[in-house]
Subunit: 229 residues, 2 copies
DNA sequence: GAAGCTAATGTCAGCGACTGACAGTTGACA
DNA sequence: TGTCAACTGTCAGTCGCTGACATTAGCTTC
């Protein structure tokens, strides 16, 4: 469906109607995240959001299935990136290696992608609200397990296995996901919200999986336990 | 005010008022679970529940913080049992060992404890509704992470560590929790809902953690390797 | 450029979860 | 027995969310 007068070289610009839709959706997202970041999730009503954009409440619910969904609009970016990154890993890598490298790689350029939607700082503030609001945290965890389910499928396909027959894909992904969530929490709770800090935290946490699972912690000192005592 | 009435022991029998409270709460739980198991969660209104017990809606919300809470009333039993079991493990065990043994042990006698509240079969049906209802699944996962947080604290204390300084307790618990959830899902999705089936599934899944995390899956055969290492 | 189609939006009414305020009832206890 | 506190019910109202129907406004076609 080529519309009139769009050169092949330039990105096919959608019609006015489509652009308007995009604009109101972005406006809703921005207004919602700004309100949520400042007033909190529960103290932000849908009426507040639609009043800021001057559309009807009904319109909001046509764009988003619920109040929760708008809060995760930016987060979804990162999720899809991770999934893509895992698919792109070369097949000779170990499943765990593939997951680890994919997650670390997917952080490169994520900031720019986010910034195209909302200010990065805003997204950070919203993320902390998500982690501290019971209803949003619950939704976040559910979304995470859905992502894990897809990851398990990808891993199983990589290895030529049946997800439902062999439990290892789901187990690997579940364990991996748990560790990632620990890293995310430490990151958002800490001071340094840079991408590098995230990478460091993630690698440290993933490196600790072996030591954490195996053996007696008290026998030998762990790789880096500078902060003990 | 406090529901801390000692349900055991003969001497301190609670007064009539306390007994009435207990009775209405149990009635609400039973009615709610029965309705949820048969009609599903979303298709069960609070009005339906209170109509079955013949109390006002306001009373329901004085007993339960929300509609969700009543659905997890029985599940909470298992959670507290697991926590107790971990605390009871001898300190010479490896953290992973302690968790594993605690979870497996806590299933002994769980059926009897559940049956004191509602028929076991009813609880099973509700559990499957929880896993298949987005809103309930989200709440379930959030509760699970709260339990993991407490478990991490217990593990850290066992090993004489600071939960916030050393990441290993949370990492271990997160990975462990992920695997447990895989086992739970397989169990509730399968046919055999017996305690033994759960034990078998749990042990197999936990035995697969090592193989899943380490090495190349394609070199070694056997999706089911006897517990080595 | 006017007419027709259709997607996007607004309005209205209503359901269900949940809460605060107030009043009535009923165990507990002196 | 009477007083007090706890338990419950009623009522009104907020908020998230949805279906039905009317209205507006791009886009297409002639």
């Amino acid at each position: 469906m080529e519309t009139a007068g769009t050169a092949v070289g330039a990105p096919a610009r959608p019609g006015l109607r489509e652009r308007r839709k995009q604009r109101t959706r972005d406006a809703l997202v921005r207004a919602a995240l700004e309100l949520i970041a400042t007033r909190g999730y529960e103290r932000t009503t849908v009426d507040d959001i639609v009043a800021a954009v001057d559309v009807s409440q009904r319109t909001f619910f046509r764009y988003f299935a619920g109040k929760e969904e708008v809060a995760f609009f930016v987060t979804r970016l990162a999720e899809s990136r991770v999934l893509e990154a895992v698919r792109a890993r070369p097949p000779h890598e170990t499943p765990l290696e593939a997951l680890r490298r994919a997650v670390l790689d997917s952080w490169d350029g994520i900031n720019e992608a986010v910034e195209r939607l909302v200010p990065l700082d805003l997204h950070m503030r919203v993320y902390r609200v998500i982690e501290s609001t019971p209803a949003l945290l619950a939704a976040h965890l559910r979304r995470a397990t859905e992502l894990e389910e897809e990851l398990a499928r990808v891993v199983a396909e990589r290895e030529g296995l049946d997800v439902d027959a062999d439990p290892r894909p789901r187990i690997l992904v579940a364990a991996f996901g748990g560790v990632v969530r620990v890293a995310e929490r430490r990151w958002s709770a800490g001071e340094d919200h840079s991408t590098e800090a995230m990478r460091d935290l993630m690698t440290t946490c993933l490196d600790q999986v072996g030591p954490a699972l195996a053996g007696n912690w008290r026998t030998g000192p762990s790789p880096n336990r500078a902060n003990e005592t």
